[in-house]
Chain length 334, copies 4
């Protein structure tokens, strides 16, 4: 069977997903929606598909599924519209920056019975998948401690920071999801510390650039997350999991697997320095997983609930910083 | 501009190249030729192209270039036919197992002025390209010594061994090409030692499975190549280059960039174990380079001459083993 | 000049320090004190020194300095006695498990003007010293974040756990000292989470086996410490420091610097698995630093104050766990 | 039991061995012989031993064993004298640069029944020992191929080169010994290529600075050795062994086990850059092995025969270069 797709939004990530749909067996890209004519045209030409408006796509009987790559503040509305229109929906995280808005949206999805996948691309990175598969195969026994190091090469533009919901909702949220996935148990309490160390202007905008978080589950498993908005050596993305029978870790990915040896020592190239380059395979795998789920009538591997719970951890972290105490997730979720 | 392609042969490598053509901007796959109907059909369906006979392709005015993926003993004839037909030609190495046949074929190519690229996929591996780029950028100064380690996970079928021309013409030939590429100077003398260590049957078939070769250029630069038909730990592909200002090396590629730590020590996954998996990016880059050369009317980066000279080094190595002495390449090339 | 030493206590660590004194130019081992006659005799024979009682050593005019390797609960008393006796003193951490007792003891030391070094062996590990030297040389600019991973191969005997003061005072205390040393700024707040994951009996004894701690300085620098009493893969000791210009890290030390490659992948030997083996060089360097300080009449590199402050961080961590909140170090130090 | 030693020669290596004797249980340093009074005095003071002449030591009844650290051209004579005097003898390689002189000397040793150990320090390096132990434990099955990379940071003084016997007798000789040790079978044929690449003056002195060698045993096992007198990145000492069940390798040793990550990539410190620093543990282990053999009345682990055979491989390599052919070791040994 072949699922027919529309991509909403032809920005950077929309283009990536359009290519992923085109190159996946069992999927066909039928249309793209994009207000900027040139961007729309570029995708339509490259992948040989129609240009349609969002309204037209909603009404199209030759479209089974949509991939939402529009600005964050449109996500929840579009999810509701397309859920009601009976389309399967893939949406890049987050559903919304407001927990109550996310909840309302997921209620609509629930009522319509629509298929919704919220994209957490890192779960589809081949190295991280290999770590998870080894955990699931019992390689390290029972999981006890998770360590996630996640640092961006540099901060986003100030303008973006003001709209992003802050470092916990924008950046740490990926690590919250990874922690939940790797811990194999829901988080009960959150402790966080936050500083402004790389740029005082970030503090003036009400955000932080350097944070550490400790997550604790009911049975006492713990995860630590360390984030910085600046790492001069590149996009640092590592995970490490300790179990009673051993430990697993995934290392960083360098530009090339080579080494130079000279008077100053031994040097390997910098890291892949941009999230779309670093996670190229992850983005492709993510869309392939969505296509596979839709074609099989199965539940996608990452859900709206995953989006909601990661956001709740971000809220708890913010509260922990504000009140200098451990915050129970139940306080947030009510 | 768009170059229109036909792929001759729809076996393993033909499929890889068909996909590469399809996914490269500036190229279009028009036809495939393949005697086995099912294989032809599979490619035609997957990449939406015609099925034509080789004769038809030769006569097709809507085809500018061919990619020859047929059995080795047809390469030279096909190169000559398509050179005369005015098509650009990509041919997987080798042109032929006989040096004189290669020479005759290249003469025809020369007379017709046809564009010919002989595929040495390893030159297009991203890691090896990064090493070469660093050499060309002067990072290690003048090249002095090259070390190439190249081991197959296991020997090919006996049947293939009898047709392959032997380990030097079939396996070491890739390393001879790498050595020429990295030394930056033509090889003058060849010394080789050969043994049968992994399977006596290989010896009974007149071949070797374990060889070491020393190459020497006129100025005294040297390369060593170490080959085995068996490496229990996988497809071992490493290069190392010493210059007066430093050394460069490319390491092996593992299945995943992860590590397990347990009672027995620290373990990384096995190597990518199959040449088509290990060199996926190399095959795609190789075809992209051919397409770029054809579109630009430029000389492709690997030539028929490269195929000839690598084969001459294989002949010299065989003679060195037979006569237990250093053999000058000039003795082979005449 | 030569400083004349006595070693108090001929247990494991006493023997290590006796050997260090003997093999260091500028130092001479004059006597050992040890209640177990056989142990005393062994050291006296091996290093050609006298056996004397502690009282005799206190009264000996041919002894300039003592190295205290007796049980923890004797440390503070012995420090006071030998400070009053005018000897230079090296004492293994901790001075005492009680903050007020430590304070009282340091007061005595201060009054007498005695030279006191409290041993934090890890500061003298060659790899950690290399990291610190690179920080001090400005290699990574301003320090922002420190990550310390410290896991023991297995828990100590239950009996020891009851006397140890708990994981924060016994194990994390080393990491607290490392964090202070690497942060380059005093810690202001402590957040800690603690679990019992490896053995419920440890919980019954009132201790934890798995803890994570976040430390924060006044300027916002942060350190995270992750500890476990069990790591099936060995004695895990790593540090990592992020600065505005780069990051530095020290990796684990394996039994040998070799690799096995086989069907199951690539394996390196386990870690040096015992603190005295892992930190052999550190123990020797530590005593050499003390000898150098005494001979030069200089202040030793680690002080009683360092011992006090590390203990205060342990107290703060305990309070943080008990009260589920961030604890200011000022609350502890008063 | 305690063996009483004299060290002949108080140069660099004599001092190292004097310290090794002093710090090894079961051994006592009684005397040093050294024509330079200051050097003799320094050792006598540091290790509390007598200064005696070689004649006196030969006649001393309180000396059981000698360690010969005098210039190479005195080795054979001293071995003969002390063999006749009934002392156990440790001599740094080589016994002599002339094969016939070595043979004559070993004949004398044989007649006297003296215990002789010829030092090949690398066999006592902890990492190389771990590789050998794993081979002997059957970890990689049957040995097939050995790869030895051995590069000096820089060439020795011209003056030394003229006296050294050339690169094969002075430098490669260590690798010849390692190859014999790791192959587990005697070498039958030698092929070598030699160039002058780092300094033309070395060629004018009749020597080479860049060589590659292939060794082949009767059963077809092979070893390759790659040497250079210059490696800008330091003292490069690696081994790698392929067997039918896997491969083992020992990596280089860096100044510290740390890493810097910055804009230019990831950097580890240079290699330990001087043979006495790189092989500190090896030198100590070597002397300990000699002492253990003498105390046990056992045959030392490296013999005069080992010295002879390594030298024969050097001769064969020289002949191979001169005649551009594979040379059988039997041609050399007669």
């Amino acid at each position: 069977m072949t699922t027919r797709f529309a991509v909403l939004g032809a920005g950077r990530i929309g283009q990536v997903h359009a290519r992923a749909v085109t190159s996946t067996p069992g999927a066909r890209l039928v249309a793209v929606a994009e207000p900027h004519a040139a961007a729309a045209e570029a995708v339509a030409t490259a992948y040989n598909c129609d240009i349609r408006t969002i309204d037209e796509i909603e009404a199209s009987s030759d479209i089974d599924a949509v991939i939402i790559c529009t600005p964050t503040d449109t996500h929840a509305d579009l999810i509701e519209r397309f859920a009601r229109a009976g389309k399967a929906i893939f949406c890049e995280k987050p559903v919304d920056l407001s927990l109550s808005r996310v909840r309302a949206c997921l209620d609509v999805v629930g009522e319509t019975g629509a298929t919704l996948m919220v994209g957490f691309n890192r779960r589809f990175d081949p190295d991280f998948m290999a770590v998870k598969a080894a955990i699931d195969a019992g390689r390290i026994g029972k999981v006890e401690m998770v360590t996630i190091t996640s640092r961006d090469p540099g901060a986003p533009p100030y303008d973006y920071i003001t709209r992003s919901g802050g470092i916990f909702r924008d950046m740490t949220i990926h690590d919250f999801d990874m922690a939940r996935w790797l811990l194999g148990e829901e988080v009960e309490t959150v402790m966080a510390a936050a500083s402004v160390l790389t740029d005082p202007k970030i503090g003036e905008l009400g955000d932080y650039d350097s944070v550490n978080v400790i997550l604790r589950t009911a049975s006492g498993r713990q995860a630590i997350i360390t984030n910085s908005r600046r790492a001069s050596y590149g996009y640092d993305q590592r995970i490490e999991v300790l179990g009673d029978k051993g430990a697993l870790s995934a290392a960083n990915t360098h530009e090339a697997n080579i080494q130079f040896a000279g008077e100053g020592g031994f040097t390997q190239p910098p890291l892949l320095n941009f999230f779309m380059t670093r996670y190229t395979a992850a983005y492709a795998n993510e869309i392939a997983a969505f296509i596979a789920a839709v074609n099989a009538g199965a539940t996608p591997p990452t859900s709206g609930e995953d989006g909601l719970l990661a956001l709740a951890l971000a809220e708890a972290a913010l509260k922990s910083v504000a009140e200098d105490r451990a915050v129970r997730v139940a306080e947030i979720l009510g």
